[in-house]
Amino acid sequence: MLKNYLKAALRNMRLHKGLSFITIFGFAAGLACCILITLFTIDQLGFDRHYAKAEHIFRVGIIGSLNNKTFIGPVSCAPMAEAMKREIPEVEAVVRFIGGGRGAPVVRYQDKIFSEERFYWADPTFFDVFKTPFIKGNPRTALSQANNVVLTSSMAKKYFGSEDPLGKTINTDNRRDLVVTGVVADVPRQSHFHYDFIGPLAIFENSRSTSWIGNNFYTYLTLRSGASASAVDAKLQEIVRRHAAPQFEMMFGVSWDQLRKSGAQYRYFLQPLTDIHLRSHLEYELEANGDISTVYLFSLVAFGVFLLACVNFVNLTTARAATRAREIGIRKAIGSGRGQLIRQFLFESSLTSFLAIILALALAVLLRPFFNQLAGENADIVIQGNPWLLPILLALLLLSGLVAGAYPAFYLSSFRSVHVLKGQLGGIKGKSFVRSLLVVFQFTMSIALIIGTLVINRQLHYMQNKKLGFNKEQVLVVKKTDDLGKQVQAFKQELLANPDITAVSNSANLMGDQSFGDNVYTVPGVSGVAQYILWTMYADEGFMRTYDIKMASGRFFEKERQSDLQGVVLNETAVKILGLTDPVGKELTLLIGPGGKPAKITILGVMKDFHYQSLHDEIRPLAFHWFGPDGFGRMVSVRFRTTNIPVLLKAIENTWKRLAKGQAFEYEFFNERFAAIYNAEQNTARLLTAFSILAIAIACLGLLGLATFATQQRTKEIGIRKVLGASVLTLSRLLSNEFLKLVLLANLIAWPLAYYFMNRWLRSFAYRTSLGLDLFLLSGVLALGIALLTVSFQSVRAARTNPVESLRYE
């Protein structure tokens, strides 16, 4: 019997080649998208699980809150690790480390010199927590001496080639010699942080600090099996009470309970290691993490596309009912029961899904690079050899065979042979209501996606073009200028001599940076616990000119005034928050000034507010401090006025080479660097654009199929109308109208839906564009146009057929 089904199905496909192709291809496109997204989801959920006992590893974070400014960070204070080990028996091992990112040391071995951003400094217990296979060396002793370093195998290759790295000495920052005592495997991609070097934390004086107030260390711990994380969490608060509270009481002169009552908060919490990648988005993350909401969004889209593809399949299969009806009638008359027919059609839909899945797999392989680009930098899905692939394919096969096959099977098998054998398709026409509903569903989704895409792109455009309060164009940023040391002054002088360069500025931060430092300020004369945390930027006197920032009152730092080192420039928001009127010349207290003691500082001026962070957020209070003549920061911004960029770059590079003693010249354009803060939105926009196109393509394939069948069913009617004098135009209109009505209806449903969701999305931006009616109209017209084009392709052809052809067979 199966053989019979198979033959009937294959021959049926061959007979209707075009439509079978549309059905299978549409289905495959949807399935390919599902395959990719499912693999992506599995990849994202699998982060950090390669460490032994990963589910017992936690990171300690801090929530600190003073005067409505809350700081939540993935960091803890220096003495925390030891206190936990000593006072919480559930803690098996604990490690602190610092490093990574922009404060990268320069590593030197013989003539090989590189700046290493993945250099971390850790306690000797690092590999007790992050158990990692050692290729060379002993994990127990590798970090036991204060001049030991462990590196990854790719670093070993980079510096030592084929030599044995063990016992070799590398130098960091021209200051420290370290002996290689271990080589470990490279950190797998699916990790929330990647190290190349683990050096000794002990060389840093502050690692022995007993202060519970500054939180500068990433602290990870392993709990013993069976220990409860929430019990340990409670014990952390007891530790705060025992050790941190007395230090706060000393500092503020108020009791801990009073501090708490005034709204202050200081508590540590545990983050499961395996949650960090997708669910932790704090300041000072080690690397940019993924986002669980992206995973949800992708999964939702996958589900939607799967549904669309299934709907298409159902639509096209039931539309074919007309041509299958006779066969069904015959089979029934001959003796097939309904159950047998249902089985037959389920078999056919499974066969179609099987073919579609094979095609989908090929499509997925083709689209993989594009998808990886869409998914962002920390996703890299692999198809060949992925152990999840087969289960996914089987699940999809089963699911799609059932979901997409069930309705057609039950519907087709319900035909009564008495009717269909007589050529009465009355019953079938009635069911076209369901098909219309499905078309409406498809277009509703497509239109909503188009609107979403337009809104996101408009918001991106808005953000990129909004007046930010500073000028981001025509600025080049030279990186790693701290390598120049005090030579940075000479570097700036030489650049300024170039007529193409109008301003330069050395600074520690730039607008758009992920995180800034912050300091605690108090206003003298205001009693009690009136502490304010302001974000801080450090720069030289040229910053304002370089970025064209306007002053509201007072002045910016001036080179000749050494006393400006005790000055501060605020933004308007900071003035508002501090509650100052007429602030210029007033004094503030910097709670932890130079040398760790409170310091008096004078407000020199107030800058007009400018958007130094993403437009997601309101402008936050900001305090500017001056480097002074001896300070130097990580980058130099160069404002230029030439269009001949290569010449400019050459000139700057020449200056750099003369002063930087062999360090590589690295630069970027500020506007590009700044645009990176909207990477997430740009990714979402790209993703939605891709899926809108896919959705509308699938919907159109479905529409094309339906139109084909509708015209086939009406061949005779078309013939008669033509004989009676109908023109091609009126006929095409007659045939198209039915479908266009559905698309119009879809618009009416999609608009409020899209409005609701996009309004919600826009509200996540403090500064946003408006949801204009034009976007909705544009999407509607677009969908209508595409639908019209699709349908008229069929209807015009049908209308132009010679009526003799269509009336001959009766």
Binding site: M1, N4, K7, A8, R11, N12, L15, R326, E327, G329, I330, R331, K332, A333, I334, G335, S336, G337, R338, Q340, R416, S417, V418, L421, K422
Partner: protein, 229 residues
Amino acid sequence: MIQTKNLKKIYTTEEVETSALNQINLSVKEGEFVAVMGPSGCGKSTLLNILGLLDNPSEGEYHFVGHEVSKYSERQRAHLRKANIGFVFQSFNLIDELTVFENIELPLLYLKVGSGERKKKVLEVMERMQLIPRKNHFPQQLSGGQQQRVAVARALVARPKLILADEPTGNLDSANGDEVMNLLSQLHSEGTTIVMVTHSPAYSEFAQRVVHLFDGHIVTENFNQKFHV
């Protein structure tokens, strides 16, 4: 074999009730060949569909090989149908995607006949219908007469007790029509019960008895003289 009592069929469409069959009392004995005649729309096909268990009557009784089937569910009817009734249609109704062999084989598949026996039976009936050379052809590749021969073969292959033919010659030229009628006649002479709807007075001569329908009623029943000498 067949006995109907006051059989009625009413079609209801929106507001109009149409009575297609009214007070039909008909019996067909085993081995009989009955022709049903009448103008278009008189209810011939409706009657045949009910007799063939494709449809249920609205009222009245229908006894088929000893079962009262007028209230049978579709499933019960399907079960009875596939074991006892073979159909021949005016428009042949072969499945285009299946070959001649596969079309004829189909009823046996639904009866779950084992493959060896299936093959034997199909070849047997094909041989008899002189269809062996057409074994692997598709219906579209055959002439009308040949297609109807395949349809008859398919109706016969499961050795049903009753063959229902709905204008089997309606789509054929006279030569092919004669051939099909001869075939039916031969089957009848071998003992098969046949009920045939036809427009053709000439072909009704092949039957033992001719039932005339008009507006849903049986108006006359004539016995064919040549069978009653």
